[in-house]
Amino acid sequence: MSGGGARIAVRVAEVTEVNALIRRIRFVRPDGGPMPAFSGGAHTVVEMDDHGTRRRNPYSLMGDPADTTGYSIAVRRDDAGRGGSLFLHRHVVPGMDMVISHPVNLFALDLRAKKHLMIAGGIGITPFLAQIAQLAALGGRFELHYATRNPALCAYGDELAARYGGRVHLYHDDAGQMIDLPALLAGQPLGTHLYVCGPKGMIRWVRSSAESAGWPRAAVHHEEFLAPPPGKVFDVTLAASGKTITVGTHQSLLEAIEAAGVDAPYLCRGGACGQCETDVLGCDGTIRHNDHWLTEAQKASGQKIMPCVSRFEGRSLVLDR
């Protein structure tokens, strides 16, 4: 079983500019066969060969999960990012062959919920598009509150409002519109589950508001993929494979391990799923833990590292890989 599990060879069927920042890419099988069905909230890891640099970025599947003719993702261009979104914006054209992973869901609906209350910010709308399609088909009860900077950047807002009417609420920052979160959280029926996907600050705001309003932890769900942060160049010794590698400023440790030809496990590549957890055999310096996976105690112990997002500063780091 290699690194990220099962993969699918796909062809780019369609590229659509949704607005000034977002482009939608649709993947199909070259032979026209069906894609696996998936669950709302799932993502796929898109592999890119960016002029010799191997990039693998996770994107939420935004289509109807019951539609097995193809997968769609929405990519927000990040001009200051590491280059994955820029590659998808500048170089991907219809007809191109690519490789993506089977769907993985780290943001699943809790199907026991009496009601699903969804809060989206910006590009965080994408997993909700699939979840709403799934719930609409199953007859589930949902309500979406979707905030963007302005109407021009409110991707899919009009379609959602037209199709689902009063279940969709749109907010535009430029018009001074704000989600009245305390009132919203206070007015939900028992058995409601709360989902949030968006910028870091929004996730923190929604989770802490829910916590102080007394919501059970298990009823509050969020998804936040971390981009691997840049940092200083550092060297790592991979004890099991007998290699010493150098991790570049804009490269993640996981990417450097892969570039050295070492097969390492991963799923989300965003510090959330735990699959890439690696034992630290020696550390003379400081591990910069950037993940959501390890406990504070594990981070303090210095015996584990999540190479998809975490880095190192110091004299030497030895990993069991």
């Binding site: 079983m1 599990g5 099962a6 696996p36 069905a37 998936f38 669950s39 909230g41 799932a42 999960p65 019951a66 992973s101 089977h102 769907p103 993985v104 869901n105 699943a108 809790d110 199907l111 026991r112 799934q134 088909a137 199953l138 298990a218 799923l267 799923c273 735990g274 699959q275």
Partner: protein, 347 residues
């Protein structure tokens, strides 16, 4: 396919037995001469032709009789099949997985025609033909999980994944090694494994849960488990313990070869696509000691495994009182020669 489905019973007169071909393909679970718990997972990929690993869901000579037995158990105790309301979608996922696999891998016996949501399923061994609408429960005679597991050997548990845990929220359990779905339904992974001795201290379940939560769609996994059963009784349930428990006091040196069975579970794990639930089929294979003794390597090794098994494990597996009789019987097949690595009888 030249397989004949046998007419046999798993209760009363116990006419079940394994043909010589079934003995040779038996999934003997011990790759070495001793046993201790381990997570022992491997990818569920097609194995040797003819083996129980060749197909996604193995169909063998006991298929029709096992399905008849399941129907009897359900008629006596409908609570052996339960699905909490949020698990219906997972039931459809399971139905799709099994129908597609069987139609692809056993085209002489099963076929599936799909026209959008309108599906047409034919199961020739059980003489079933069904037209239904996918995801519409009203078009099947029962729920989707019950429908397909009445036609598939092995027990099934469907586990919801949430709150960093797995929850046993649906299942079909009629061929179990002394556990109860009715008792376990709604429990999480640690709760339903609470009775297992020794393994918790070894952190086995913490590691196993982590592995299972990361089982990905398209990459199923499998492992073995095993126990011992007197007489070829599929339904060794806690609910029916008064009916079968006393048989443990009737084993003798004279009847142990005929009545004692090694009971092997081939457990597989599949991520279900629409529900994100985990399907956990537990397929039970039985082989009587006399049948097993026809394979010299297996008989030698089983003697060593049982002889050296810690008493806690023998007690948990329910054969501590009969262990001396079993070891004495198996000793006659063990001349002390080494056994080759791996579980294949002929290697």
């Amino acid at each position: 396919m030249g397989l004949t489905f046998k007419d046999e019973t798993f209760r009363g007169d116990f006419t079940f037995f394994n043909s010589p071909a079934a003995i040779r393909r038996f999934p003997f679970p011990f790759p070495e001469d001793s046993y201790m718990y381990s997570v022992n997972m491997e990818p569920h990929v097609p194995g040797r032709p003819g083996s129980v690993f060749e197909k996604t869901f193995d169909v063998d000579e006991h298929y029709v009789a096992e399905m008849r037995e399941r129907a009897r158990v359900l008629a006596e105790d409908p609570l052996r099949c339960q699905s909490l309301p949020h698990m219906t979608l997972a039931g459809w996922d399971l139905l799709e997985l099994i129908m597609q696999a069987k139609a692809r891998e056993y085209p002489d016996w099963f076929s599936l025609h799909r026209d959008g949501d309108r599906w047409h399923w034919i199961n020739r061994p059980l003489e079933i033909e069904q037209r239904f609408t996918f995801l519409d429960e009203t078009t099947l005679p029962c729920g989707p999980m019950e429908y397909i597991t009445r036609q598939t050997q092995g027990d099934f548990s469907l586990q919801d994944q949430r709150n960093d845990n797995l929850w046993m929220d649906a299942g079909m359990v009629t061929t179990q090694a002394d556990w109860s779905l009715d008792f376990d339904i709604g429990m999480n992974f640690f709760e339903w494994h609470a009775p297992v001795p020794l393994a918790h201290e070894k952190q086995i379940f913490t590691r196993a849960l982590k592995f299972l939560m990361n089982v990905q769609h398209g990459v199923p996994a499998r492992r073995f488990n095993w126990t011992m059963t007197i007489d070829p009784l599929l339904d060794t349930s806690p609910e029916n313990y008064p009916k079968w428990g006393p048989s443990r006091a009737t084993l003798t040196p004279e009847n142990v070869g005929r009545r004692m069975h090694l009971r092997v579970e081939l457990q597989t794990f599949f991520r279900l696509p629409r529900s994100n639930a985990l399907a956990f089929p537990i397929r039970c294979y039985l082989i009587r000691f006399e049948e097993l003794a026809t394979q010299p390597k297996w008989a030698r090794r089983l003697h060593r495994v049982i002889r050296d098994l810690p008493d806690e494990l023998a007690a948990y597996k329910g054969f501590l009182r009969n262990k001396p009789i079993m070891v004495d019987y198996l000793a006659q097949f063990d001349d002390g020669t080494p056994t080759s690595p791996g579980w294949w009888a002929e290697d």
